[in-house]
Each structure stands twice: as C-alpha cells, then as structure tokens.
Symmetry: C2
C-alpha cells in the first residue's frame, strides 16, 4: 500500500480535498480514475487516505507525464465534475521528490 | 484543514505509514509532535489522514528547516519509538513544491 517508487528524482502530485455530501458517481469515477492513471505513461504509483480531509498522492516520472494525465479526456470530465459536484475545496501541489528513505519491520531497507 | 501555504517554491515532506497494533503513547506523542512542529522555524502547515494507510504531509520553507526538525531532540525520540513500536513500515519523501493551484466553492481562488 506504500507506493514502491524508484530512486529519486521523480515527481509527486499531492491532491488534498474536502468532499461535499454529493455521492453521485463519485466512487465509480474515483475507481475508474485509478485504473486509467495506472495505464498512463510515466505513472509510478499512488497512495490515498481520507479521514475528513482526503489526501491522494500520485507519483510520476516527470512533468510531461503529469501534464498528459491532467489533459486525458475522461480525467478532464472527472475534474469538471469534481468542481461542480464532489469537492467543496481542493488543492493540488506539483512536487519534485528530491530524496526518500524508509523503514519496514520486514526488511532492512525499503 | 487544507494547509494555507504561501506561493511556491517551498518544501513538502510526505510521510506515508502503516501502523502496528501498538497504541502505547502513540496518540499523545502524535499530538505533541504537531505542537512541536508548529513551533519550528520554517514550518508552514500540515495535512493528515489515516484510512488503513496513513499520510501526513508537512510543509516547510526550505531544506534547512526540515533538517532542524528531523534533528529536534523530542522528535528524535519519537522517531526511534516509531520504528520500535508504532510503525510496521513507513516511507518519507522530501519534495520541492514547484507549483500549486486550488479550488474552493467559497472563493474564486485559493
């Protein structure tokens, strides 16, 4: 469930959101967007949690891959529905991952 | 609840974790670490959610502020307890936020 990303540098898109109460198509679309993202060139993985605030981080090889994903046609429709139906507020941050390190009780190095 | 960060560039630390079942001191320490982080020079805000996977993103003015926070003495003890008690696995990613944009149904621009 922790994304198995390659050695840096790579890119992260942090999408932080607050939902409205509108459920219409939300779960189906969210699922479909994950499927679709995974098919995109340059997709490296993603992590997601919601507890009031929702945080989804997706990982990408470079800025061009992020741009292509933002412009993908089904994703564009979902973005519009996001603004009109599902989200009261959101913030997207495009980040260059410069360094990473980890720990796992099962392995010495992650 | 969405962190009110300044215009980029600034830094993000993405901390993704899977918990053990050990509760000992966890909630108290997590609370204390938030208080302590907010007092650090260069702290800009943070966002957090757990749903199985936990994602905490903290925002900082620069790498030096992140380094100082990593070395803070109470935080060092918490990091050790994290590895020995609270986390089955985690990954920390240090990122330069290059661009951000947002939406709020209450405001035109966020």
């Amino acid at each position: 469930m922790i994304a198995n990303t390659p050695n840096p540098p790579y890119y992260a898109v942090i999408f932080t959101s607050i939902r409205t109460e509108t459920q219409e198509d939300y779960i189906e679309t969210a699922k479909r967007m994950v499927e679709l993202a995974q098919l995109q060139k340059g997709y490296l993985g993603h992590e997601s949690a919601r507890e009031g605030l929702g945080i989804t981080v997706s990982y990408w090889t470079n800025l061009e891959a992020i741009k292509q994903w933002k412009m993908e046609s089904e994703h564009q429709i979902a973005q519009e529905k996001g603004k009109s139906l599902w989200y009261a507020a959101y913030k997207t941050r495009i980040c260059l991952v410069e360094r990473d390190y980890g720990f796992s009780s099962d392995f010495d190095i992650m």
